[in-house]
Amino acid sequence: MSILKIQNASKIYGSGHTQVNALKPTHFTAETGELIAVIGPSGSGKSTFLTIAGGLQKPTEGSVLINGQDVTELSEKKRSMIRLSEVGFILQASNLIPYLTVDNQFRLLDKVKKGNMNPNEKDKLFNQLGIEDLIKKYPADLSGGEKQRVAIAKALYTKPSLLLADEPTASLDSNRAFEVISILSLEVKEKNKAAIMVTHDNRLTKYCDKVFVIIDGQLSQISDGDQAYAHLNSSD
């Protein structure tokens, strides 16, 4: 079953001389159990792709189906509800709220949505990510890696069917990075989710089921990470 289905979606900013084709017409599907990497240089349209995939903005043309629901036809309010229930974002600019302790970050999610992880699942997740001792701390007291792990836990906590990660391993050392990817991978396989991560980090692509590369708004699939890197380098 496809969790995300993007049909012929494109995004154009501006018009005339200032027109930018941020995303060229794109077909894309993410099936349950798939961990997908999207690689590309900065300014290539990765973020545009991610925000369209997550229902944050509408494509200029085409449609985006999250769990079978066409979000391009929905109001911002409805899309916001779909994001809350179906999509887990792991953002580069850490999505932690500075004035909430780690524990309260999760309590906030309980306030806005039902059906999140139960205490056992939560403890297990915290253990896997090694953040069980951080619950009383504020984000400012966490290291970059700790913040990233809390952000990942936060994205998983609402049990989304689609995970969208923007550079999820950016501030982690290699060991932690592999650990994080294996957690994502496990989560995706075990719980029938799909995950898309946008990354520079080609160390990670071998853990992924599909690898895409995006250059100047053009998304294309390639088989493995080494190839992707070669692809990137040749086009620069």
Partner: protein
């Protein structure tokens, strides 16, 4: 409430400062309302004690009791059921043998009519030149048995009793007989003017249907009070200050919260990206303002109450708890209204921009 409260806990200094500003403003509102109340009381407390509905004065007095003059004959022709004659003169009384002086309203009434105040100390006046005085005069050193010289008259008065809450247009009232006032005004010898009084006070809810003679004027008691010299300008000025303070409160907290909201645009953007609705964020900002105003008003109220305990008697501040409660609620309401400045900003936050799309 959850977000609002946790944010306040994590940035205590910032929010304590805002609460501090709100506390000072609510303190000012409360003291001004106490002052407005106290000054109004100073003017009207004697009249309020009469529990009257209307007053008849001469037309040319401009609704001013000391300036009014009518004959007892005319007073008797007024057909109201419950009416009381009143004579009044504003003069300065001096305690004999001392330099203690006070401007007083010497007010002549009939002892058996409803204008007769409750004597709280001593006894009622029985004879000419005996007076029952407002007990604020005790603070000036006057006591029962004291003799008073009256300016521009050779009459001597003697205090035989005190009554509470008897100030007329800020002057302490000396209640006495009608003839005492007539003697002071016209002298002992002037028989022809003995029939003159100042007005007739009515206790009759249906006074509007009464007809009075053409040279007389029937005035509801509330407009009689409003026409006292200085009463209305004073009241309007203080009320204006209070209302203006409410506007200032609303704008001030509006600006504070707006600045805080602007600072949090990226945080709000991230939350919106995660699917947290604008409504939730708006409710959280409004709840925060409400909490801030509530704390501010509470501390302001405590400060006001403490101040009230230590105010010298000469300061005309009278704290009226129900009035303070109403002003406190208005305060919280207008402060919360101020937070609505931020609503549009929150609605407009584009999550795509905040995550660098």
């Amino acid at each position: 409430m959850f977000l609002a409260w946790n944010e306040m806990k994590s940035a205590k200094l910032r929010f304590l400062l805002i609460i501090g500003v709100l506390t000072l403003m609510s303190y000012l509102v409360f003291l001004l309302s106490g002052l407005a109340n106290g000054l109004a009381e100073l003017n009207r407390e004697a009249v309020d004690q009469w529990r009257a509905d209307a007053i008849v004065l001469s037309d040319e007095s401009n609704i001013n009791l000391p300036q009014s003059s009518m004959t007892i004959q005319a007073a008797q022709n007024i057909s109201a059921k419950n009416k009381a004659q009143i004579a009044q003169v504003l003069l300065v009384a001096r305690k004999r043998g001392t330099k203690i002086k006070e401007s007083v309203a010497i007010t002549g009434i009939q002892k058996d009519q409803f204008l007769m105040p409750k004597v709280s100390e001593g006894r009622a006046f029985n004879r000419i030149n005996e007076v029952v005085a407002d007990d604020s005069l005790k603070a000036d050193g006057l006591k029962i048995g004291d003799k008073l010289n009256i300016s521009s008259s050779d009459q001597k008065l003697i205090i035989v009793g005190f009554t509470k809450k008897a100030k007329f247009n800020a002057a302490p009232v000396l209640y006495t007989t009608l003839s005492t006032v007539q003697n002071i005004k016209y002298g002992n010898g002037n028989i022809s003017r003995k029939g003159l009084i100042n007005g007739v006070v009515l206790r009759d809810p249906n006074f509007a249907n009464l007809k009075v003679a053409s040279k007389l004027k029937l005035t509801p008691i509330e407009s009689f009070i409003e026409n006292m010299p200085g009463y209305t300008p004073q009241k309007i000025s203080l009320d204006f200050m209070i209302y203006f303070l409410f506007v200032i409160v609303s704008v001030t907290i509006g600006i504070f919260l707006y600045v805080l909201t602007i600072q949090k645009v990226s945080i709000f953007g991230v939350m919106k990206a995660q699917g947290i609705s604008s409504g939730f964020l708006i409710r959280s900002v409004i709840a925060q303002t409400f909490l801030l105003a509530l704390f501010g008003v509470f501390v302001g109220f405590v400060l006001t109450t403490i101040t009230g305990l230590f105010l010298p008697a000469a300061v005309p501040i009278q704290l009226n708890i129900p009035v303070l409660a109403v002003y406190g609620m208005i305060f919280i309401f207008v402060a919360t209204l101020g937070s609505l400045f931020s609503v549009q900003t929150i609605v407009k936050i584009d999550p795509v921009k905040t995550i660098g799309g």
